[in-house]
């Protein structure tokens, strides 16, 4: 079995740093790539080697297959880790790696391609006997048939694009009268976003939980799951806070979901680390959503409760090793919560921010891990994702994890940029969150119109005092300096006068 000696990480930010750390642990040389704006970025500093791959926009650097493969050749890397985003779920790129005799750390191109198409993934799930949200495909042209099918499912229904992602080509339909118009708009949106107008319909769940199963499989047909992650705290389909285990999970539900996840993995010939996403309804029924064929942003919560380093296992699987852990090795030790730290302004509808980190100090001490893509003085450029770091906290139970989250969110020091830290702190105080009563509608329901309080009146008073004292000290210093200058100047005046007098009495 050939050992991987050098890995090129086709990514940037915190996930590049995360992968570099795993490489360092096992003595693999890490190669970073960077765009113009990232020349002094943290992932470049952390890596053993670094290669320039183009201009700042990702379409001219991190997404350019040729440039990345060229850097891989130059550096002599024998494997590429794509991280998440960028090329992570790009079957064409995965195939190019194979063609160029470089190991792509991820599933086979065919698997990526199949699971990337929602309709094909749905078919695979049906074959693997996974429960699906009631729904179906239909002929876009036959509106009578479509309306009938929608009626059978029952409103509200959700129209989704087959090639979809990121909420594009998605429409909620409340009543039959709106169906035809919504269908047309969803389909045309899907054409313009993905060049593929195929859509399908599903029952719209009102308050589902998003719960996903981490799987790990090898090239020899072995597979395990590493429990679930609950990712219900989302804003506009973007996860913000994730945890493991789920506060509502039971042993039998976990077994059911774990078996289902491994069954679709088997069905799709899945190799490596992956995530099978489910929706869980209020009655605790679960439904297959999709498979993410890569490492997830939120993988650390699983690492903290299972003790497994997922990136190291990905690498071992890519080398062709048999799984080193069995299902029996996977326990649940305590509870972990992740908060995504994004350069966004919660008070301006979470608008992304750019800027320089004038101060940046991570929380530390018992139970906190930070995977950060930036350090003090880093620039946060406009070209990429606004997530600058993840704070992951471990506690012996959920309540200790929440306590420590609060402490560490307050300990996090960022100047120069607005972030989601304050909003995560607000959620940690939310009674529904604390009791585990959450769903993907949580933020929308709890904070309609973003009506949360980031600054208490007490904090405002303290801040006002701090600024007043600071201003007073500065003004006082200027006054004292000026007084001193005056004293000096009048000293000089006296000196000049003396000189003049001397002259008067002397030469003149």
């Amino acid at each position: 079995m050939p050992k991987i000696k050098k890995i090129l990480i086709a990514n940037r930010g915190e996930i590049a740093v995360r992968i570099i750390r795993a490489c360092r642990d096992i003595g693999i040389i890490s190669v970073a790539v960077y765009s113009d704006t990232d020349a002094s970025a943290y992932h470049v500093r952390m890596a053993d080697e670094a290669y320039h791959i183009g201009a700042s926009p990702s379409s001219e650097s991190y997404l350019v297959h040729d440039n990345i493969l060229k850097a891989a050749k130059q550096s002599g890397a024998d494997a590429i880790h794509p991280g998440y985003g960028f090329l992570a779920e790009n079957a064409t790129f995965a195939q190019r790696c194979i063609d160029e005799n470089i190991i792509f750390i991820g599933p086979k191109p065919e698997t990526i391609s199949l699971l990337g198409d929602k309709l094909q993934a749905r078919q695979a799930a049906i074959k693997a006997n996974l429960p699906l949200v009631p729904g179906c495909e239909f002929d876009n042209e036959n509106m009578t048939d479509a309306l009938k099918k929608a009626g059978e499912i029952g409103y509200p229904i959700l129209i989704k694009a087959a090639a979809g992602g990121g909420g594009k080509g998605m429409r909620v339909v409340e009543k039959p009268e709106d169906f035809e118009e919504s269908l047309k708009r969803a389909s045309s949106e899907a054409v313009s976003a993905f060049g593929d107008g195929r859509v399908y319909i599903e029952k719209y769940l009102l308050r589902p939980r998003h719960i996903e199963i981490q799987i790990l499989t090898d090239q020899h047909g072995n597979g395990i799951h590493l429990n679930e992650r609950e990712c219900s705290i989302q804003r506009r389909h973007q996860k913000l806070i994730e945890e493991s285990p789920s506060p509502v999970m039971t042993g039998s539900l976990r077994k059911g979901m774990g078996d289902a996840a491994l069954s679709i993995a088997k069905q799709t010939d899945y190799v490596g680390a992956g995530t099978v996403e489910f929706m869980v309804d209020e009655d605790m029924s679960f439904y297959f959503l999709e498979v993410n064929t890569r490492l997830q942003v939120e993988h650390p919560v699983t690492e903290l409760v299972t003790g497994v380093d997922l990136v190291k296992e990905q690498i071992a699987v890519a080398e062709g090793a048999k799984l080193r852990i069995t299902q029996d090795d996977i326990a649940i030790n305590g509870h972990a919560i992740e908060c995504r730290i994004c350069a966004e302004d919660p008070q301006q509808n979470f608008m992304p921010c750019t800027g320089t980190l004038k101060n940046y100090r991570l929380p530390a001490g018992p139970g906190v891990r930070v995977d950060s893509g930036v350090v003090i003085y880093s620039e946060v450029p406009i070209y990429y994702d606004p997530m600058i770091a993840k704070m992951i906290v471990w506690g012996k139970d959920r309540s200790e994890a929440i306590e420590r989250c609060k402490r560490d969110l307050e300990e996090y020091r960022v100047s120069g940029l607005k972030t989601t830290i304050g909003f995560c702190r607000v959620v940690m105080d939310n009674k529904k969150f604390i009791s585990g009563d959450i769903s993907t509608a949580f933020i929308k329901e709890e904070y309609p119109e973003n009506n949360f309080v980031l600054l208490s009146d007490e904090l405002k008073e303290q801040a006002a005092l701090a600024v007043a004292v600071d201003t007073f000290i500065n003004e006082r210093k200027i006054r004292l300096d000026e007084e001193q200058k005056h004293t000096k100047e009048s000293g000089w005046k006296n000196y000049h006068r003396k000189q003049s007098v001397t002259r008067l009495g002397g030469e003149s």
Binding site: A343, Q348, N349, M351, P352, C353, T354, K358, N359, I382, Y383, Y384, D385, P386, L409, E410, E411, Y412, R413, V414, S415, K418, I421, G422, R425, E449, L454, L455, D457, L459, K460, E461, Q462, A463, A464, L465, A466, V467, A468, V469, D470, T471, F472, I473, E475, R476
Partner: protein, 169 residues
């Protein structure tokens, strides 16, 4: 020295004097004893009646607008000499924020969609424009009621931070 300090909706009247290496502040009638030690550049540790805060006070380039970072929070602050603030108030020049009559791009990005046209009357919270930046679509909403006077951009156009997007009347 007496200051008028404003944070969001709160106004504070703060009087400060220096006495034996400490600062005595009177805030809305209450006395607070303050110790302050510089941590270099703009950061200090302050003890307000022995309560410990690490604060980072930064000037925003304007005389009165500052930003303070405390307890992981970024807080925009307006501070003015108290007497000056009173004078301005009397003259109707209150620095209390009115609705801004222009909308400028809050970040560099791409104008994805304009949600209004000239002459539309918009209400607070109405979507005005969608800007794509950092891989995300950002809906810019009206911060108050008004009528659109002019629009300076069109969909598909790139904007730099601070570029004029539209004006209200």
């Amino acid at each position: 020295m007496r200051y008028s300090v404003k944070i969001e909706d709160k106004e504070f009247d703060i009087d400060i004097e220096y006495k034996s290496e400490k600062y005595i502040a009177t805030i809305n009638g209450k006395e607070v004893i303050i110790e302050s030690h510089k941590l270099g550049e703009s950061r200090s540790i302050m003890l307000l009646n022995n309560k410990s805060f690490e604060v980072d006070v930064r000037s925003n380039g304007y005389d009165n607008a500052k930003t303070v970072f405390v307890l992981g929070q970024e807080i925009p602050v307006e501070i003015e000499n108290y007497n000056l603030a009173q004078l301005k108030k009397k003259a109707g020049m209150s620095s209390a924020s009115k609705m801004d009559l222009t909308l400028k791009a809050p970040m560099p990005g791409l104008i994805l969609e304009l949600k209004t046209t000239v002459g539309d009357s918009v209400k607070k919270g109405d979507a005005l424009v969608i800007i794509e930046a950092m891989k995300m679509e950002n809906v810019i909403k009206a911060s108050g009621d008004g009528i659109i006077k002019s629009i300076s951009v069109e969909s598909g156009q790139s904007v730099e931070k601070g570029d004029m997007i539209l004006e209200f009347e």
